[in-house]
């Protein structure tokens, strides 16, 4: 694989990431401890330390389209254990946010991204999560209509699935918060 990177683009990308991260990529000395303890490393296409290095090298297309950034479960094991105190978990948040803002429609792990979007839409319209509606909308969007439905009857029997959601009173404020920060 031949990758040509324009130095100016590399610098721009690195500085965008670093300013959102409030941390320096050069802090990482590639010991791999973050990746060793990552609970989902077996599913990732690049390990967390590879993501850090590739970001530093300006390989933005590769990192923003990686499975890794979406598979990361934000468990923070990596940041907690990093001997350099580098914000590894946070770089995953930053890269996801950049990918999302740029509207990168990566084909990998798109269902995970969709779940976050449907979740936030639910917060936006109710102020709180209405689980049944959230799951329903997510299923429609991903067309995974039958995944997990085997759980539903017993959950309803146990009283776990409420049929009505709650809306908060000050939905205008929630709309304003979304408008200001979305």
């Amino acid at each position: 694989m031949k990758i040509v990177i324009n130095e100016q683009n590399r610098r721009n990308f690195v500085s965008q990431v670093e300013s959102m991260l409030h941390d320096k990529l050069s802090k990482c000395y590639q010991c791999g401890k973050c990746s060793a303890g990552c609970p989902v490393n077996f599913e990732m296409d690049y390990t967390p330390n590879q993501i850090i290095k590739m970001t530093e090298l300006g390989m933005e297309h590769t990192v923003l389209n990686s499975k890794t950034i979406w598979l990361c479960v934000s468990c923070n094991t990596c940041s907690t254990r990093c001997p350099k105190g580098f914000e590894v978990a946070e770089i995953m948040d930053v890269l996801r946010e950049i990918a999302e803002k740029r509207g990168i429609n990566s084909k990998v792990e798109k269902e995970i991204r969709m779940f976050h979007e449907v979740f936030l839409n639910n917060v936006k319209s109710n102020g709180r999560i209405f689980e049944l509606e959230l799951v329903g909308k997510y299923k429609l969007k991903t067309r995974h209509l039958f995944r997990d439905v085997f759980l539903a009857p017993k959950m309803i029997e146990k009283g776990k699935l409420k049929m009505h959601g709650e809306k908060i009173s000050d939905l205008n404020r929630i709309a304003k918060i979304f408008k200001d920060f979305e």
Partner: protein, 290 residues
């Protein structure tokens, strides 16, 4: 001390057992909490996954309502909510530019002073071990209980400031107060995959399976948790995991409030223990015969 209560969405839905048992034990302990009026969702992992500023602004509204209501501290029983509230509070303390924007958007003042407690901090710090011990009417002697902490209570340690992040013992100490034996095992703070529970169930059943089988191997009668997301994965997905690996687990998952309630002699029905997917009948029978 005026205590504000932030239930969060899970406690009003799939994890209603957590709220029922919490309110019941607080009634017995004679401790008053007040639900934050018109609270909103903290944004959970979705917000911080794709929009950092929103992940601070959404919880901030709850912090500000509680602070302006004259409360000194907030109890957030859900580990994910307490994690998001604490993180937002930390960001607002350390990032003045963001704080100004957030305060502006909220349309109300916020001094960033209010304290946030997760359930374990609340039980051991606010209620106190002595008071809990004095309420134990039905010691759970001989019951083997594994405490599962997961990620959100302990990490990141810089912000959570909670116990030892690699080997926490706060919940085990609470278990010991009930007379039960805390079980030692390796996966106390390993992740169950919570945030991708619905969007990546296959990875989640692998991670959760590792935890459940390790606890099983160490001879526990049951598991206690202080997080609705952990509870959902360990309880709701347990049958699926048994099918995936072809090996029975059969471990009831109780909220820490339910275990305390049982040791206080409260009827299991009043603690909503029958609301779990994995039946706790065997364990309840064992407790009855103690």
């Amino acid at each position: 001390m005026k205590l504000a209560y932030y239930p969060g969405c899970s406690l009003k839905g799939t994890s209603f057992e957590y709220e029922v048992s919490l309110l019941k034990i607080l009634e017995v302990l004679n401790i008053e909490i007040k639900e934050i009026p018109d609270w909103n969702c903290c944004g959970a992992s979705a917000a911080h996954s794709i929009n950092h500023n929103l992940s601070v602004a959404l919880p901030a509204r709850n912090l500000a309502i509680a602070e302006n209501g004259g409360y000194e501290s907030i109890l957030a029983p859900c580990a994910a909510c307490s994690n998001r509230l604490k993180t937002a509070s930390y960001e607002l303390k350390t990032d003045d530019i963001l704080k100004d924007k957030v305060v502006n958007s909220l349309g109300m003042p916020y001094a960033a002073g209010i304290d946030i407690n997760n359930m374990l901090e609340f039980l051991s710090g606010v209620v106190g071990e002595d008071k809990i011990k004095s309420m134990v009417k039905k010691p759970l002697n001989g019951l083997k209980v594994a405490s599962y902490y997961g990620c959100l209570l302990v990490r990141p340690p810089k912000i959570m400031q909670f116990d030892d992040p690699e080997n926490p013992v706060l919940m085990d100490d609470l278990v010991a107060l009930t007379g039960a034996d805390p079980v030692d095992y390796s996966y106390k703070t390993e992740c169950c995959g919570a945030i991708n529970s619905l969007s990546n169930p296959d990875v989640v059943t692998t991670l959760t399976g590792n935890i459940l089988y390790d606890i099983k191997k160490h001879g526990a009668d049951l598991i206690v948790v202080a997080c609705p997301l952990c509870h959902s994965n360990l309880d709701v997905r347990q049958r699926e995991i048994e099918r995936k690996y072809g090996e029975k687990i059969g471990l009831p998952i109780l909220f820490v409030t339910e275990l305390l309630g049982l040791s206080f002699g409260i009827d299991p029905k009043d603690l909503a223990i029958d609301g779990h997917m994995v039946a706790a009948d065997k364990v309840l029978k064992k407790i009855k015969e103690l």
